[in-house]
Symmetry: C2
Subunit: 343 residues, 2 copies
């Protein structure tokens, strides 16, 4: 029989987790006291965000392996910091755990989370563990820093700015659909989760282990190349709408310019769906959408150079007229509504 | 029929909540962007803590009214800041909500949380809303500030220090038992929750709406009167054990000195329990346990003057011998284990 967390007890579980945490010198009091005490970064502002992963809502344990749950829980928060132009520094972890959860699952979940933390030099400085009478819940607060003049918000877009996106869009939705299909065909949960770990395709990996665009956010902020920025957690259509509303502008997208991978196009065509509409609506990509002033092309080139191979693609323009439209060879249509959690 | 949160939709719910939030001038970017941006307090360190309230684990909706859920969710976090000697500044709120939850419940929950925030000048600077397929979960991260030389930790107790506690202990446990008994007798959930709101006794109120000892923590830190400090979230026995372990010392408590209200004693005697053991083990009090050096009596008097009527009671002494004991007229016995979440 496997050891469950209720066999181990709360205190022993906390000790097991904190033993894996490294504490950098700017952490004055780390995990294990009533609260963490941290030196703010000199000359910078603090940036705070919180985002949760709930079993049955944000992930399905049939095909999301424990390390991917931990990976996603931190990555989605670092994506929010990236969208502000902030450098990640620290995180707090709140775990709400079903009694029957086995210790291996927790160890792997922490492994996935700490791998992302290490990759981005984030210190887990505190947290909390509680029982759950229902789903597994992993709630993370991420803490970063940004200089005042570099803060990226959603509200700075102006008519005439170009609209850009990092990387490719729509991959994670295809990855999720592919994982769901495999889970429905293959019955046994553990087998599918294990397979997801070893035989994942590139789109599935985009869903399971998204790479937050921290370097891109820092490059855009550092070169002051963006007028507004937001991450694509809820899809491109949603992000376009949010930036337009916050900035009181319109946005016109060019469907032909959208960076959609060939595999993603083929997947949707196989489902007899419009690939552009599907890519606009798909969530979980964690790319950055940003706007940039035409007079700042030099700054944008500077940011692009800092980013190496990650593509920055121009996909549209900010308009004075407050409409949200997509133009293709067929003509101009309204932007789809995008993903909504409570509907 | 009542309006549920799934009728309203996520975005409208976020707007409804953020409309109630005030943003002080040191908040550079408040709720509604990817993350909050906040000026750190000049010359101070940041203090971070997170604690969660889970339905069915930390509260029973039969007798904890929605405003009390919100009150407790923030208060337990402010209590952790108080134990570090920190001044609360900001909070992030993560709500995981069952679809069928009605809007009145959320409004009242937010009312309770914001009343505590106002009382302690805490700005809710960000948060997140998610669906729950199970229980209602309210997860809060609280952010405070403290000067480096004023930080209170668990690890500073030294042999010879006096052991002190604020207020009275064991009240919340009696309050919880009383509320549970009324709920078991009175069947209908809503009626009991409503009654809990209007006819609560003082112990019940201590459980439902604990007052975090923020002023006491600030006074102890400001007068540098404490060598170690911790809050009593999991009971006095647990806190004594934690401070002793972190400080590598023993603690001897004087049972006769414990500040236990007469009503609390009578309740336990009515249950044929030892009132001292029951008060030592009871959780949810949110008083502060601290140690103070005998040579610093003047500082402790200074802190006491700053606190007015809140009693600071000496309940024991820190010992070189690493044992945890309680001495009464019957003799000396080992400290009970205290509350354990996963057992």
């Amino acid at each position: 029989m496997q050891t469950t967390i209720s066999d181990l007890g709360e205190r022993a579980l906390i000790e097991r987790i904190t033993a894996r945490l490294a504490t950098p010198p700017w952490v004055v009091v780390g995990p294990g006291d009533d609260a963490a005490v941290v030196e703010p970064e000199r000359g910078a502002l603090d940036v705070f965000t919180t985002d949760v992963q709930v079993e049955g809502v944000h992930f399905d344990r049939r095909f999301v392996a424990p390390d991917a749950i931990g990976h996603r829980a931190l990555a989605v928060n670092l994506s929010d910091l990236a969208a502000m132009g902030a450098r990640p520094r620290a995180a707090l972890l709140s775990l709400v755990l079903p009694d029957a959860l086995d210790l291996d699952t927790i160890d792997q979940l922490m492994g996935g989370l700490l791998a992302v933390a290490d990759a981005h030099r984030v210190a887990v400085v505190g947290g909390n563990i509680s029982r759950s009478p229902g789903p597994l819940v992993v709630d993370v607060t991420a803490i970063g820093s940004v200089r005042r003049r570099r803060v990226l918000t959603r509200s700075g877009a102006r008519a005439g700015d170009g609209v850009y996106v990092t990387g490719t869009i729509g991959d994670a939705r295809v990855g999720l659909e592919s994982l769901q299909r495999r889970a429905d065909v293959n019955g046994h949960p553990a087998a599918v989760a294990a397979r997801a770990d070893t035989q994942v395709g590139p789109q599935e990996q985009r869903y399971l282990r998204p790479q937050p665009r921290v370097r891109a956010g820092l490059a855009l902020a550092g070169h002051r190349a963006a007028t507004a920025c937001m991450d694509l957690s809820d899809g491109l259509a949603d992000a376009v709408r949010q930036i337009a509303e916050a900035s009181r502008v319109g946005i016109a997208l060019d469907a032909a310019a959208l960076p959609i991978a060939d595999e993603v196009r083929r997947w949707h065509e196989g489902q007899r769906r419009d690939p552009v509409a599907a890519a606009l609506e798909g969530g979980d990509d964690y790319e950055l959408l940003f706007t940039s002033r035409p007079t700042n092309r030099g700054r944008l080139r500077g940011a692009q150079r800092a980013l190496g191979t990650l593509p920055l693609t121009r996909i549209g323009i900010v308009t004075r007229e407050r409409r949200l439209v997509v133009t293709s060879a067929d003509g101009t249509r309204e932007l789809p509504e995008g993903f909504r959690h409570f509907r």
